[in-house]
Symmetry: C2
Subunit: 329 residues, 2 copies
């Protein structure tokens, strides 16, 4: 059975029953003209929206509906965490081809509910509409952060160290492996299919005021560095030798005639986090990292001179501007 045959009221009724029980801060949840919510006293709200489009951000040949639902939540929670904010409420807007099987619709919605529950957020409403085009999963996430703990890009300063979580290039290599249709590295493929944003690291770096600024790597490292530099009015000096390239990704890129460093710094979908850390904040960063298994690597520093520079084998070049495409504001 398809969603077109099932009809709106049946889909909505099902969706409402499946969503996790809302938190106490949800005064009116799914089922009225709009949701009514009680904000946390003494906190600011943090809000973002990000959409996944079939054929652009995912391909149902390689990703299951569960993967897509998880990713749609992950990309939004990653943006909140990059501001230091914990998620409270999610709105789910589904633009659905009428030919989509009901089973796929249900799996997608369930995975959004599961991801919300896992992150401590409530699904408070949404919208379902049909389309003649590809499936679109549009999520809006609202969270909370205490005013003194916000991680703003513009707060970065010359002299700050740039610390990067995890490794880069894995998701892009994983996608390339899937597209090539050959057996690939399981870790790279998993990283592409199910992003695991560094939520706890973002929250902890904000909580302990260990970072001055943060940004997530949804559009790649080079783009993230340029964004933070533009917002803060500074430059950056990165050392290619320190960049934590995922080993299997490095091998894959090299074997396919692609410069691994350039591929990795331009690669999107890694959902790692980049922090600007003041020179005197090492102790606070140790406190924030306590109990986290996430590797942190210092990849460079912010500079007074506004250029972004990559040092490689002793040679300085301008940092590539990264992948130009449509994205978030």
């Amino acid at each position: 059975m398809t969603v077109g045959e099932r009809g709106e009221h049946a889909l909505l009724g099902w969706l409402r029953r499946q969503m996790p029980a809302p938190g106490a801060d949800v005064i009116v949840g799914i089922g009225d003209d709009a949701a009514v919510l009680a904000p946390t006293r003494g906190s600011y709200l943090v809000q973002t929206t990000d959409a996944l489009v079939e054929g652009v951000h995912f391909d149902l040949r390689w990703s299951t509906p569960v993967d897509v639902g998880r990713r749609a939540v992950a990309v939004n929670l990653s943006d909140l965490a990059a501001m230091g904010a914990r998620p409270s409420w999610l709105l789910l807007s589904l633009i659905v081809p009428e030919t989509l099987p009901v089973a796929a619709f249900e799996a997608l919605v369930m995975s959004v509910g599961d991801a919300a529950r896992h992150a401590g957020a409530s699904v408070i409403g949404g919208n379902i509409t049909r389309t003649t085009g590809p499936l679109v999963v549009d999520v809006t996430a609202t969270g909370h952060v205490r005013p003194r703990r916000i991680l703003r890009r513009a707060a970065a300063r010359a002299g700050d160290e740039l610390w990067l979580t995890g490794s880069i290039g894995a998701a892009a290599a994983g996608l390339a492996m899937l597209r090539a249709g050959v057996p690939g590295d399981a870790a790279c493929i998993a990283r592409y299919k199910v992003p695991e944003p560094r939520l706890r690291d973002g929250w902890a770096m904000a909580r302990d005021r260990a970072a001055r600024a943060a940004i997530d790597l949804s559009d790649g490292l080079a783009d993230a560095v340029h964004q933070i530099c533009t917002a803060a009015g500074v430059g950056a000096r990165l050392d290619a030798a320190t960049l934590p390239l995922e080993p299997a990704a490095r091998l894959w890129f090299a074997a396919h005639g692609v410069d691994p460093v350039l591929a990795a710094i331009g690669a999107s979908d890694d959902y790692e986090m980049l922090f600007a850390v003041a020179p005197g904040a090492k102790g606070r960063m140790r406190a924030a990292r306590a109990g986290s298994a996430t590797p942190f690597t210092c990849i460079g520093t912010l500079t007074r001179q506004p250029a972004c520079v990559l040092t490689r084998d002793g040679v300085e070049t301008p940092l590539p501007t990264g992948f130009e495409h449509f994205a978030s504001v």
Copy 2:
């Protein structure tokens, strides 16, 4: 030039410069990982999302990009007003075919900014992504309402009168006229193209606690009555003779062999508001309506018996269930 040729950064930079100056409650606006917002003390937040899909909700043969932007904002503000809430912040998510002319993109974005400014709201961020399918304009609106002034559907009670703003059927007749490609009634066509939701009436009925419950007519009157009855556990008795059908719509439907009453109660896109008013609240309703030019019509009452009934020429029939399609939760 198309949006695909223009590229993301240019589109986003342009968008950021065009949006109205954000209000004092916007701590971080467009340009970081997420927006940071200061909620109003003593108020609840009200949040909704609604998407317009090209070929489903609008047709660029009949509607300009400016019409589409206005409608995308209007449908969301209508949902907030139906809860008694004033809008504070809008997020704009655009899913754009790469072939869309930049001029159309710009006109659409400008009209969203204008509609936000007109309603006293700030555009705090959004997302732009490309698609291989139709244009999708997805807006999320967040507003504020004082806890004692929320208009919940479930708060309606048996014995309440049902009061309807304006007239019904005009937008559906306007769309039918456009589709027929013949000269039609200008008022009906304008009503279809540029919905003007009854925001001030919703806010005033909430402010003066004149209504117990409210719902907007985005999916038609019959659907609205069923929704309010289901939520409140009551029934309704409507009198067909009292229904404020738009005269030109009545003529159009009758001339085309369609029962005008059934067409009008099933018609969507009128963006009128339906209020449940307690018998003792007439004075408060007069106060709320002071200064409003909006006609209000009493079309029936809520009943203890849970059936929804339409009385017409002395004959009682079950109220049709209305148009079944994909919609909001």
